[in-house]
């Protein structure tokens, strides 16, 4: 239940993925994200939203994430190397 923007199910990590601040390929990983990666993504989002880029998911940041917005992502998916089968 990661993508619902309502109060109960709102998931900032999924929000960051959805709008391009975090790689969607990260969902392939089983473990949690590192604090550094998450903080960098939050800072990036805060900068775009005109907030102080603290990298912390504070109340203002969460409120900004819940604001209605355009469905297009703010960052295009990374065009990095993709692991091949072998």
């Amino acid at each position: 239940s990661a993508e619902t923007p309502d109060e109960e199910n709102f998931n900032p990590e999924e929000w960051l993925r959805r709008f391009g601040y975090l790689s969607r390929s990260g969902l392939q990983m089983s473990g949690p994200l590192s604090v550094q990666i998450l903080s960098r993504a939050v800072s990036d989002m805060q900068r775009v939203y005109g907030l102080d880029p603290t990298g912390r998911l504070d109340g203002a940041t969460l409120a900004a994430m819940r604001r209605p917005r355009c469905a297009l992502p703010d960052r295009t998916p990374e065009a990095g190397e993709v692991r091949t089968r072998r």
């Binding site: 239940s1 990661a2 993508e3 619902t4 923007p5 309502d6 199910n9 999924e14 959805r18 709008f19 790689s23 969607r24 390929s25 969902l27 392939q28 089983s30 900068r47 775009v48 939203y49 005109g50 900004a64 819940r66 604001r67 209605p68 917005r69 355009c70 469905a71 297009l72 703010d74 998916p77 993709v82 692991r83 091949t84 089968r85």
Partner: protein
């Protein structure tokens, strides 16, 4: 501002507004006027001009209202989430602009509670002209909605700089721009009264999935409920909500299953599971759209291609994903995937590592596909029975970890095919729920009875036909004897079994006797050496030396 690198290569653009699902609170006329005003905002700062055409014809920019997944790459998520999206310039869908019909649209300049359609339209048309989201929070191209006075609206300097970077300033820059200067309107020929455009009361049947795929940007469809509207949707008693309850993996009847990056992914409806070592991972099932945004429900087949990309099939369309991101331009018609593949539907697909070909299964036939040439090989399709007694239209095919076996899935059963011996293993089907999903107590299906007792006693023998050599590991399609026909595929399989059986017996005999003979030879050699050492006297020189030493002492 940020640019996408895409721009229109002409200065006169056409657009049309579909009148379906127009917000009833606004009506068609006010909605159309707001959109025209939004076009006027951009035309006032560029040399671009926009001409409105009746809906139904080919235009550069099509504007529509929709909800949920509506045939393109994006989902709408009900009120309060995503408002709209637009495609960047380009042929086909380039510039098309979609508004979420579920939002509380308004055009009341004093009402800051709703979402002002004009402001959102200006933003989306910025995308349609080639602008990305701006990092300037005050720009209209900032990604989030922010109210401003729509009556006295003017573009932010950042937005003007961005669009003029692409198209330059307006030609008649000395004339004061007005919002409607560069918009010509051709009245729609079709009747489009607000009455017609006003949606009626919610229709529960609209929430059922449509089995027939709709082409991209066809009439907007609201029947596919997004995972978000599913949880926050207004009507909790529609069939869609019942359908949204996460299913149990132990119910079986999956749409398809496949191995991606070596892990099993199981798809059913709008959900998927990840399964590892006979156990479903935590937090699954997960809606497909959470990971593969833009992929529809009820997919037919999926496989990991040799280059690591994921290919999904549904009906006569396919999607190409790099990890979780759909590649631009997809979905595409199935016939564009390659020459010769079944164009109507693919039931299962697998990149077959032993021979590095891809196999497609549809109905009771299968195709061998060359990824390099993007075409199926000649002499295909062939009967699916070459892979054993698997049923028609298998819903999944995947390799074992060591690549030694191929598994086929349908319903709650699976079949195993030995890739080295190129024959189907006996004792199948078995329960995939029990053996792969960890479902305790799942009933075991009855193994296929062998209809021919003679074959059971002496498998593979076929009276009157000599065995033919095979090419192990080249796939079941390689065992076709010269002169044989497609009409007797089972006989072909039997013939393969005969050859492989006799070869394997000889190999077993050699592999057992050769080491035994070697060990025997070594024992004999050791015995001979020991005997020789026991019988041999000390060297003459040593004896003499010993005597001389004794004398000397």
């Amino acid at each position: 501002f940020a640019l996408t690198g895409q721009r229109w290569d002409k200065e006169q653009l056409s657009f049309s507004i579909l009148d379906q699902r127009i917000p009833p609170s606004l009506g068609l006329n006010r909605t159309s006027n707001a959109i025209r005003r939004a076009f006027g905002v951009w035309s006032s700062v560029t040399p671009l001009s926009f001409q409105e055409r009746p809906a139904g014809g080919a235009v550069d920019i099509l504007l529509l209202f929709a909800s949920g997944f509506h045939g393109d790459m994006s989902l709408f998520d009900g009120e309060g989430g995503s408002l709209a999206h637009a495609f960047y310039p380009g042929p086909g869908t380039g510039g098309d602009t979609h508004f979420d019909a579920d939002e509380p649209w308004t055009l009341d300049a004093q009402n800051q509670e709703g979402i002002d359609l004009f402001l959102v339209a200006v933003h989306e048309l910025g995308h349609a002209l080639g602008l990305e989201h701006s990092e300037n929070p005050a720009a209209i191209m900032a990604p989030f909605y922010q109210w401003s006075n729509a009556q006295n609206f003017s573009l932010h300097g950042d937005d003007i700089a961005g669009v003029q970077r692409m198209y330059g300033p307006p030609v008649a820059s000395d004339a004061p721009p007005t919002h409607h200067d560069d918009i010509t309107t051709t009245p729609p020929s079709t009747s489009s009264s607000p009455t017609h455009s006003t949606p009626g009361p919610p229709d529960p049947t609209q929430t059922e999935p449509d089995p027939t795929p709709t082409p991209p940007l066809a009439t907007p469809t609201s029947h596919l409920t997004s995972p978000i509207t599913a949880r926050t949707g207004p009507d909790p008693v529609t069939p869609a909500v019942r359908r949204d309850a996460p299913p149990s993996i132990c119910d079986g009847d999956f749409d398809t299953l496949t191995l991606l990056r070596g892990e099993m992914f199981v798809f059913k409806g709008r959900w998927f599971w990840r399964v590892r070592r006979n156990r479903v991972l935590e937090n699954y099932p997960m809606p497909i759209s959470v990971f593969w945004n833009g992929l529809p429900d009820d997919i037919d087949a999926a496989y990991e291609r040799h280059d690591g990309k994921f290919v999904f099939f549904k009906g006569d369309r396919f999607w190409l994903f790099r990890e979780a991101d759909v590649l631009p331009g997809y979905p595409q018609p199935l016939h564009q995937y390659g020459r010769g593949i079944p164009a109507h539907r693919i039931d299962a697909a697998i990149w077959w590592e032993p021979n590095e070909f891809t196999y497609f299964f549809s109905g009771d036939r299968y195709w061998r596909y060359n990824e390099e040439t993007r075409s199926t090989d000649r002499d295909f399709p062939k009967p699916i029975s070459r892979w054993g007694k698997i049923p028609a239209s298998p819903r999944g095919a995947f390799l074992s970890e060591d690549g030694a076996s191929t598994y086929f899935y349908k319903g709650s059963s699976y079949w195993r095919f030995d890739n080295r011996r190129t024959e189907a293993d006996r004792g199948y089907p078995r329960s995939i729920l029990k053996d792969f999903m960890g479902c305790v107590g799942a009933p075991e299906p009855d193994p296929d009875p062998d209809p021919d007792p003679e074959t059971e006693r002496n498998p593979g023998t076929e009276p009157g036909r000599p065995p033919q050599p095979t090419e192990p590991g080249r796939g079941p399609d390689r065992e076709l004897r010269p002169g044989s026909t497609e009409d007797d595929p089972d006989q072909e399989v039997n013939m393969v079994v005969t050859v492989v059986d006799s070869e394997s017996k000889v190999m077993t005999l050699v592999m057992v006797t050769a080491p035994l003979l070697l060990i025997l030879c070594i024992l004999v050699l050791v015995y001979a050496i020991l005997r020789t050492l026991q019988n041999k006297e000390p060297p003459r020189a040593l004896v003499h030396c010993k005597r001389s030493l004794q004398d000397w002492v």
